[in-house]
Amino acid sequence: MRAGYLPLGKRLTSVLEPFANSVVGRFVVSIFGALGITGRTGVISIPFFWLGIFFLIPFAFVLKISLSESILAIPPYSDLIEWGEEGLISLHLNFGNFLFLLEDDLYWFSYVNSAKIALISTFFCLLIGYPMAYGIARASPANRNILLMLIILPFWTSFLLRVYAWIGLLKNNGLFNNILMGLGIIDEPIVMMQTDFAVYLGIIYSYLPFMILPLYANLEKLDGTLLEAASDLGCKPIKAFFVVTLPLSIPGIVAGSMLVFIPAVGEFVIPALLGGPDTLMIGRVLWDEFFNNRDWPLASAVAIAMLLFLVVPIMFFQYFQNKQSEAS
């Protein structure tokens, strides 16, 4: 092994050596050693630790609340475990909240409606985002940075303010209607606010960067010689796009679509501000359960059910994709 090509673990060790030799360092190393954690597993454990603290533990809390009963107290749900006399421990699990979700078709309807809105928005994000990502990836390096900057720029303004700005554009005496009426194209304002159209517009606008960035990352790495080879072999550019570029960019399409679809399903703010009262999404139902009914257990059950509703199809999808890539 040549010097300078040390594996990561060793390189880290050399950086950490002064620390490892200090008193505190030796103490830490001895503890980790006693626990059977070496430098390598230590490094890998950081993301798992992160996921554990910020995903698994909160998830466990929500799951716990979803299995309790709603009561009028602080906190507003019953304890799962009761410590009785003489060391008697009784466990109360209430599956009634999940059964209730099946009883009323409101929940099923709003899950499906949220998924529908998210799916259509994802499709349009892809339709608009793909050419943009492609254009940026093909631009000269100097322009590329400017274009990427423009994609990221809106994030410098609060998300909420940007959604509010759309109200100013879409309302009856807003910018769009005033321009159209000023030009004499329409006589009566077109009603755009409080419609599903406004919700789609808001979601597509807000999530477009999440589609463009992974697509760009993918398209930018595309090997240009493959397209040259296709052209040499007599393939027209349009056909080359469909047989070479598009199939190779599928991982980017999948990543971008997931990043748009998943948060869009649970979206609450955009339908609340731009949508009409009949735009029913699961975020609204969750809000009603939590704040109007003050039923934290049922609200938690709605959240857990949404997770299953989303995660199970995604896991299936990944499973089949892995199988496919193994096969080819």
Binding site: L72, P76, D104, F109, G276, P277, D278, N293
Partner: protein
């Protein structure tokens, strides 16, 4: 070395001593735009207590913090039905009325009404109160219907009338318990009903006017009414008065009036209360007693245009505020007002479900 120890011990003694007397800090959580500009600074300079003043804009947000526990606030301002339920959940400590020297300034009529929410007025002092009615655009309504019943809930709840105003815009509060009481009063039923059959009747009636309602929202109506986007907006008195003033300031020819309909409506109360786990209960009592001073209460009313519950403050309230029937309604009108009482869990769930059905058709 010994000297150092001695210093530390003395310092420690000071800290614990101050603690027994309570540190000079007070954490207040109030509605946004709901206090006079100098109320807090005057209290600080008089008492030397540093006030951390935070604001919220919905009872639900306040409630979520309170029932999660350890909110850290010393004085909060929930509306009556929320206060009522929170008292039952054990959120609040009873007031020590011996520490409130100005308690006698409170309006006995309001104390009586509030006792329905807070038995014996044990936990809270009413801060401001108001009504639920509707604001309407005088000119636009006259254009649509010359003899419009502008003193009645017919404007929103009678299908034939509401249909006429659908084009220029009707909005309803997204507050199911209040709208339920109002619809009950409109139908000549008991606004305090907890009957399942009444929820059905409520839903049935609302579905008749549903096609003519533009949206259900509790704050958007202020701007939309003021700039003429909507014609008739169910709303809380203070909000509708803000819309009236904004419309007048804009000078676009929009004129707004606020009505407490003759069929009766909700009288609501926002109340000062001290959480049971408040870190500074002594300072909280000092603050509430300060708010109960006639001059202080009047100054807030003159600034926010909401009626206070302080009889002794009336001589200090501006005439234009005192004589505005939208802010201080006559006793006759008051007789028709009913409270929005807290409901039990089962009724709440049923009503929320009916409300979703009304709004979404699902």
């Amino acid at each position: 070395m010994y000297k150092k120890l001695l210093y530390t011990a003395t310092a420690l003694a000071f800290v614990t001593g101050a603690d027994a007397q309570e540190e000079k800090v007070l954490n207040v959580y109030n509605w946004s735009d709901y206090i006079a500009e100098d109320t807090i600074s005057n209290f600080e300079s008089r008492t030397g207590i540093k006030v951390n003043y935070d604001v919220f804009d919905s009872n639900e947000i306040l409630e979520a913090k309170l029932i999660a526990g350890s909110s850290g606030y010393d004085v909060v301002v929930p509306s009556a039905p929320f206060l009522e339920r929170q008292i039952q959940a054990g959120v609040f400590a009873p007031l020590d009325k011996g520490k409130l020297s100005n308690y006698g300034n409170l309006d006995t009529g309001i104390l009586e009404r509030m006792a329905a929410h807070d038995p014996d007025n044990a936990h809270a002092v009413t801060y401001m109160w108001g009504t639920t009615g509707f604001g309407y655009n005088i000119n636009k309504v006259a254009d649509v219907m010359a003899d419009a019943p502008v003193d009645s809930w017919d404007m929103i709840l009678d299908p034939a009338t509401a249909e006429k105003f659908a084009g220029c815009g009707i909005t309803v509060l997204d507050a199911p318990t209040e709208v339920f009481g109002i619809v009950m009063a409109y139908l000549g039923k008991d606004p305090l009903s907890n009957e399942r059959s009444d929820v059905e009747a409520f839903k049935e009636h609302m579905l008749k006017v549903r096609p003519f309602i533009k949206y259900f929202h509790s704050s958007q109506n202020i701007n939309d009414l003021a700039n003429g986007e909507v014609c008739v907006a169910m709303g809380w008195s203070g909000d509708m008065l803000i819309a009236r003033d904004r419309a007048a300031e804009a000078g676009q020819g929009v004129e707004i009036d606020y009505v407490i309909p003759r069929e009766g409506s909700v009288m609501w109360f926002d109340n000062l209360a001290i959480p049971a786990d408040a870190p500074h209960p002594e300072n909280a009592h000092l603050f509430i007693d300060y708010i109960l001073e006639p001059e202080v209460a009047a100054a807030i009313t003159n600034y926010v245009f909401y009626a206070n519950a302080n009889s002794a403050s009336l001589p200090h309230v501006l005439d234009e505020v005192k004589n505005d029937p939208a802010i201080y309604p006559s006793d006759e009108v008051k007789a028709n007002l009913f409270p929005d009482l807290a409901d039990d869990h089962r009724f709440t769930r049923r009503l929320t479900r009916a409300w979703t059905a009304i709004k979404t058709g699902q």
